[in-house]
């Protein structure tokens, strides 16, 4: 019988990294790639338009509403009359503004829903839970777009200097939280009863530590699911009200149409590049009377710009959720 082999113990086979064990799902890659396209477009618009980023460049020959120019090699998305702009240029110019509006709104909305929902769930049945529930249910009784217009309108009237996009973004983010918070609260109260939270409590962890260190990472899913839905509310405000104002104008006298903003609009001027504003006006200019021709490009390309961004956000958030669940399993 030969003696056992001596010598140095071979090193164990390297354990695959967390990334290799749980690679990001396809949704996350697709969402991130699509978002990167939008960010690239926004950065290039910043460079291209520079100090003129906030005003659409009007070509006077295209302004009359009887001048109809569809997609062609020179204007691939066609022309939006009344504004007198090429739609491809206008949508490109609007990209940095829309990212600057939508992303902070979603960030504020998600953060508030997460913090307030977790807090309420952890303090289930207590005064904090009741107060957050009461406030959220009461604010949630008014559809988000209408509540926002009321509060934003009041602020516009109160501040002599007028209010603009920054106030709009903060207010919108601060008003959208109730639905997300209610879903987070439900998950947080279930998580708060689980053994790992009991263990943390027994180990002397404070309420704040339990909430932020243990609960918040485990109640993210409802927020990830809710944020793409909240995006629709923002689109609603940005597109439906401008559409109505334009619709009222064009039905009275289409040939003398001039772009106009609805009451309490956050946009600083009638020639401000913004996807929803372009969609609202594009839809009514495209289809002003029922049996007339439909100039589809005026509505379709703004919708695609918004739809693509919404898809990017939904894919990215779905992917993050899936990745997190994979890493926990």
């Amino acid at each position: 019988m030969s003696p056992p082999a001596t010598g140095p113990i071979p090193p164990p086979a390297p354990r695959p990294s967390l990334w290799a064990r749980n690679p990001p799902p396809k949704e996350l890659w697709a969402g991130a790639a699509l978002l990167a396209v939008y960010v690239g477009l926004a950065l290039s618009a910043l460079i291209e338009f520079g100090s003129h980023l906030g005003t659409l460049a009007v070509t006077r020959a295209w302004v009359p509403t009887y001048v109809i120019i569809g997609p062609n090699p020179a204007q691939p998305f066609g022309v939006l009359p009344a504004f007198g702009v090429s739609l491809s240029t206008a949508l490109w110019q609007a990209t940095p503004w829309d990212l600057a509006i939508l992303l902070p709104i979603l960030a504020i909305d998600g953060a508030l829903a997460l913090i307030l929902g977790t807090w309420a769930g952890l303090a289930e049945g207590g005064p904090v839970d009741h107060a957050i529930g009461f406030l959220g249910d009461s604010l949630g009784a008014v559809p988000g777009p209408f509540l926002l217009l009321v509060v934003f309108g009041g602020l516009s009237l109160a501040l002599a200097r007028g209010v603009g996009l920054p106030y709009f973004v903060i207010l919108f983010g601060a008003l959208l939280w109730p639905t997300g918070a209610r879903l987070v609260r439900d998950q947080a109260r279930r998580e708060a009863r689980r053994p790992y939270v009991e263990a943390a409590r027994a180990a002397g962890a404070t309420g704040r530590r339990i909430a932020f260190r243990h609960l918040v990472p485990n109640v993210l899913d409802p927020v990830l699911a809710q944020l793409p839905i909240d995006l629709v509310v923002v689109y609603f405000v940005l597109s439906v009200f401008p559409w109505w104002t334009c619709f009222q104008y064009t039905t009275s006298n289409a040939n003398l149409y001039l772009p106009m903003l609805p009451a309490f609009s956050p946009l600083p001027s009638t020639l401000f590049p913004e996807w929803g504003y372009l969609l609202g006006n594009g839809t009514c200019l495209a289809y002003t009377y029922p049996d007339g021709p439909f100039f589809w490009w005026m509505a379709v390309f703004p919708i695609l710009a918004m739809a693509g961004f919404g898809l990017a956000i939904a894919l990215a958030l779905d992917g993050i959720g899936k990745w997190r669940r994979g890493s926990r399993s």
Partner: protein, 349 residues
């Protein structure tokens, strides 16, 4: 000591919240809109009397009126709001059942086995909310309905729920006495709900036309609403499909169909009601936008036009209060239905 009638106790305690919630909305309207718009500074006693005056104005229907045009008195905003109610009711009577039935069965069908073939359409719908899936689906369904309406009734879609003057000339030789033409809009008598009035007068072709027009709007609303509803609903169904009682029942040999459409479907009624309660404001906003888009003389068109113009603040305040009241009462009713379906999740237990 536990209540002997827990459901009644829950219903009453939940009802007691309603006035407080409405008061909060009124206070928000006062501080957020009324005070900033006041020409003079409201302080001290005037601040509180101003609040009382606003509440009195809203609840007594003194919402103001548009300025007089061509010497003709114009209908007040409150009356316009009331006049819009029957039209919106007819739209809701079509849109709500389609949304509710679609949401319930589609979520059950697609969430049960997340990777089955039936999940693909749902993912297309839910992934995008108002995005690609909804736009494509809505476009296809709506196009088919539009074309069908035009082909069958030789009329155009839009301009409310009543067929246009051209249709009446073709089929009826003009408006019958129970359809009133006021110029900008048509309405029916005696109830102002077209489908009910058509039934009362035995106008069956009209019934088919108005039903089809309403169906087009109902489908448009349902498609957009479903996108928002299905996203959380599917994950509730998926959670349920992995629950212990389903595994245990499966181990006992209960057929999959019975597990799915019997056991799970029954248990999911309560969370679905709660989810519906959460999404009522979103549903209303969708219906309002669709009503405005189709030119219905309903509350939606009134709401969008009032908020877009922003000139009549009393009308805006009254409108927001009325919407809040409608939502809070609806949420209360759905909360009670959820508590009745499954009392374990509520204090009614």
């Amino acid at each position: 000591m536990p209540s002997r009638r827990p459901f009644l106790h829950y219903a009453l305690s939940r009802l007691a919240l309603l006035p407080a919630q409405l008061l909060l909305i009124l206070w928000l309207l006062y501080v957020g809109l009324e005070v900033p718009s006041s020409a003079h500074r409201l302080s001290g006693t005037a601040f509180f009397t101003g609040f009382a005056a606003m509440v009195f104005r809203i609840v007594t229907g003194q919402w103001g009126a548009p300025s007089v045009r061509f010497g003709v008195p114009v209908q007040g905003y409150f009356q316009q709001f009331l006049d819009g109610f029957p039209t919106s009711l007819q739209v809701a009577l079509f849109a709500l059942p389609i949304s509710a039935a679609g949401g319930y069965y589609l979520a059950l069908a697609t969430g049960w086995r997340p990777r089955a073939g039936s999940d693909l359409p749902s993912r297309l719908v839910t992934l995008g909310t108002s995005y690609v899936g909804v736009i494509v689906l809505a476009f296809l369904v709506e196009s088919a309905l539009f074309l069908a309406y035009v082909a069958i009734f030789r009329d155009i879609v839009g301009f409310g729920l009543i067929p246009t003057a051209t249709w009446w000339m073709t089929y009826g030789g003009g408006f019958p006495p129970w359809v009133i033409d006021t110029g900008p809009l048509l309405y029916t008598t005696p109830t102002r709900i077209p489908i009910v009035d058509g039934f009362l007068h035995g106008a069956w072709l009209f019934e088919a036309a108005t039903a089809m027009k309403t169906l087009i709007q109902g489908v448009a609303i349902a498609v957009v609403y479903l996108a928002a509803f299905l996203r959380p609903a599917r994950s509730i169904v998926a959670d349920e499909s992995r629950s212990v009682h389903i595994w245990a029942a499966r181990a006992r040999g209960i057929p999959e169909g019975r597990l799915h459409w019997g056991h799970a479907a029954r248990r999911l009624r309560a969370p679905f009601w709660l989810l519906f309660a959460l999404t009522i404001p979103g549903y209303l906003a969708t219906q309002f936008a669709v009503e405005a888009l189709f030119g219905d003389p309903g509350i939606g068109t009134f709401a969008i036009s009032t908020l877009s113009s922003g000139v009549a603040l009393p009308a805006v305040e009254g409108l927001i209060f009325a919407i809040a009241l409608l939502v809070l009462v609806s949420v209360y009713a759905t909360d009670l239905l959820a508590a009745r379906a499954d009392p374990r999740g509520t204090p009614a237990a």
